[in-house]
Symmetry: C2
Subunit: 449 residues, 2 copies
């Protein structure tokens, strides 16, 4: 039942575009879901995509434009006139329209706003543009069904029919008092089960979760997930109902956050995809590699500082990649657990308790790995004193790496910086340097070179 | 407006539990949201949590039990009798009940099923238990609103009132023919806008997205996200409507998948949280550290094989952590991009094209980093021939690491293995070894030791 985009189909569309056969294209794509149209747009060249956007109804293309990759949308919009952009925005929900406006230059923004036919819609967009990008005010849509508490159920149904035209999906009906303040909600289910003449004030549910325009997106996502909400109303500073956020926006937000954290942990600093250009991918990756390079050069300098040990204990130098790898792995593990814990809001208890716990963890891991290395080394015939030095410093390296991995994200988080930065190359590079320094220092103490 | 769990409040509850003051507890927690009750359960000791679960209404505790951590739920269920578990399951939607059943021993399962009062609910649970855990059949809930195409709108509303009692939220009304096959849907909005005597067959929308009981969860998530669906109906092999999946289950699924991939990339093999026990965390982390340890020992053996170079080119040995770090970082970056691309289904084009692209990427990164190292080395006074050897082998190491990072996940994916395994410690460890081997081999060719 799912639409499957084939090369043949794309070829057919490309041919029709080259023939400028608008009628055949409209006929062919008639009844297509906007998500499928979006997939088609992504496969076409920009010229072809622009042609198709101009050709098809704004009702379809406005939604499709919201589904394509940001870069693709930006390039297509670049090729549309302010009037054509306005026609697309006219069909979008306010939250989507605001996202698109945010991608335009300021002078184009003004021209576009002037061209939107529905002045109320235009005013809503202008109002929402003033909210901070990461807050409920920018994420919400203005479209919702709102009823007054002094209406009857019959009047309410009548009014809902009118309002529902602008609302894609009715989740909940929000009840406001005469000054527009949110005072409760009404489920569609309830509306079906009471008499026509019943007053809304008698049946509405006064308990309603809400957020304010200033609540940040992460908090909105947390509340909606915790309470399994599919939509949440947004109020302004006076408690007046101004919009609602639906779960599909939150799904996108959660996915984007997760992908960003994942990429950050892998040392990729921009949102890139496997099919992006080589230049874009290089820009996202190279800075972290340069960081790693300087970390490696730091390790070179440390080892040069200990090179008098080379004559007698050259074997120590063979173990540096092992030490660096263990320091890196432990650091990444610790930081990943903390970063996820911070995101899910379940890092509780005092810093001291956490310190004790990390000490316990390191002790167990360090003893296990240290013993293993002594056993393996004695099997492959390495000197015992060197094995002891390696095992002891490994224990210490693991401990320090765990402490850095745990507390750097916590400190960043307390200072309002995204703790996800402190995963991946950042933590492996710093732990490489600390690890090798500790390794040689402790080996020197034990072996006395 | 949000409930904020304080230590004082927990103390108060603990005190009431120790006094066995059931009435006061019921009074205190009356009207609490189940998600908040879940938070409270997680803060209490097991004895206290069990007491509270037995005390409060199953209507609340059944939902709260679904919100607490799996471990906590398992331990609480261990302390309940089959009859008490049945009382909880009685109140759950089938999908949740099936999840809980999956956590019980088989003989307990049978006893519990026998104790569920609603025999239809019990039969639904037994039926769903036979579906594979990762498919729509196991994820769906049986509770939904279903109307027949030959009903009138009035009859439909009447029937919906009856059915809606068992359905937490009405998303869509599914239309079936007389043999129960899914033939379309009806939106609540539509229902409000047509006359009472209209036949459903005249107003329903025949176009409806659906999945089968065998569709795997990842595919369900992909479809629901792509088409922004809030619920999707599930049909059996005969096209008969058997259940529906709602977006909140998908939100949980997406989050779990993202967290699992993230943990896998960080070298954590079980689902652990910051507040899990030291033993559980060790079990999840130690295996990867042991892998890293053996990788490090492999590097030791490689370097021993090249130790005749030590006399003249000891400096090469100082650069091994740098080489290993670069190989690891490049490998993790490449694999992360591919793993995400595979998850989002946007890795397109032939393998050969991808190979050429990775070659291009490596060339750019390798030339940039190689040049950088030659410049830095000449500033800090390293011999030029050694710098050239390091730069050239760095280029080669980056290329091989990118190829391994890109193609190992692709190959795993083609064989039906989760490509996320091939990120993190797995890729860094194998790249460490390959990197160091290539580094010494190429240096030997260039420097001739």
């Amino acid at each position: 039942m799912q639409f499957q985009l084939t090369d043949d189909f794309i070829n057919q569309i490309e041919q029709l575009i080259s023939l400028q056969d608008g009628d055949a294209l409209r006929e062919l794509l008639h009844d297509f879901h906007f998500a499928d149209v979006a997939e088609i747009l992504e496969e076409l060249s920009f010229d072809e995509a622009v042609y198709l956007v101009k050709l098809l109804e704004s009702e379809i293309t406005s939604e499709a434009l919201m589904e394509v990759d940001d870069d693709v949308r930006e390039k297509i919009l670049d090729r549309l006139s302010p009037q054509e952009i306005a026609a697309e925005l006219q069909e979008m929900d306010t939250d989507d329209a605001v996202d698109v406006m945010g991608e335009l230059d300021e002078d184009i923004q003004k021209q576009v706003i002037g061209q939107i036919e529905d002045t109320e819609h235009a005013a809503d967009i202008v109002e929402m543009l003033k909210y901070d990008e990461d807050t409920a005010g920018a994420l919400m849509a203005k479209e919702l069904v709102r009823v007054k508490d002094n209406w009857t159920v019959a009047g309410c149904v009548r009014e809902m029919r009118r309002q529902a035209e602008n609302v894609t999906r009715v989740h909940s009906i929000y009840v406001v008092n005469k000054s527009g303040k949110l005072i409760g909600r009404l489920s569609l289910k309830d509306l079906l089960t009471v008499g026509e003449k019943t007053k809304i004030s008698e049946v509405f549910i006064p308990k309603v979760d809400y957020v304010t325009v200033h609540t940040d997106n992460e908090e909105v996502a947390r509340i909606m997930q915790k309470y399994d909400l599919e939509a949440i109303p947004v109020v302004d500073d006076n408690g007046v109902l101004v919009g609602r956020i639906t779960i599909d926006d939150i799904v996108d937000f959660i996915k984007e956050e997760a992908e960003r954290d994942y990429q950050m942990a892998a040392g990729i600093s921009e949102d890139v995809e496997a099919d992006d250009s080589i230049w874009k991918i290089t820009r996202a990756r190279l800075p972290w590699l340069v960081l790693g390079l300087f970390g490696g050069l730091g390790a070179v300098l440390i080892m040069e500082g200990f090179d008098d040990a080379l004559a007698k204990y050259e074997i120590l130098f063979f173990y540096t990649p092992l030490i660096a790898a263990m320091a890196g792995n432990v650091g990444v593990q610790s930081s990943a657990i903390i970063v996820q814990g911070l995101a899910n809001d379940n890092v509780k208890g005092s810093l001291f308790n956490r310190f004790v716990k990390e000490m316990g963890l390191s002790l167990i891991n360090g003893l296990a790995l240290g013993t293993l290395i002594i056993v393996v080394n004695s099997i492959i015939g390495k000197p015992f004193d060197v094995s002891i030095a390696i095992a002891v410093s490994l224990l210490m390296v693991i401990f320090i790496a765990a402490i850095i991995g745990t507390f750097v994200p916590i400190i960043l988080d307390k200072r309002g910086i995204d703790p996800a930065i402190a995963t991946g190359p950042f933590i492996t590079t710093s732990n490489d340097i600390f690890g090798i320094l500790i390794f040689f220092y402790i080996s020197k103490l034990i072996l006395g070179f």
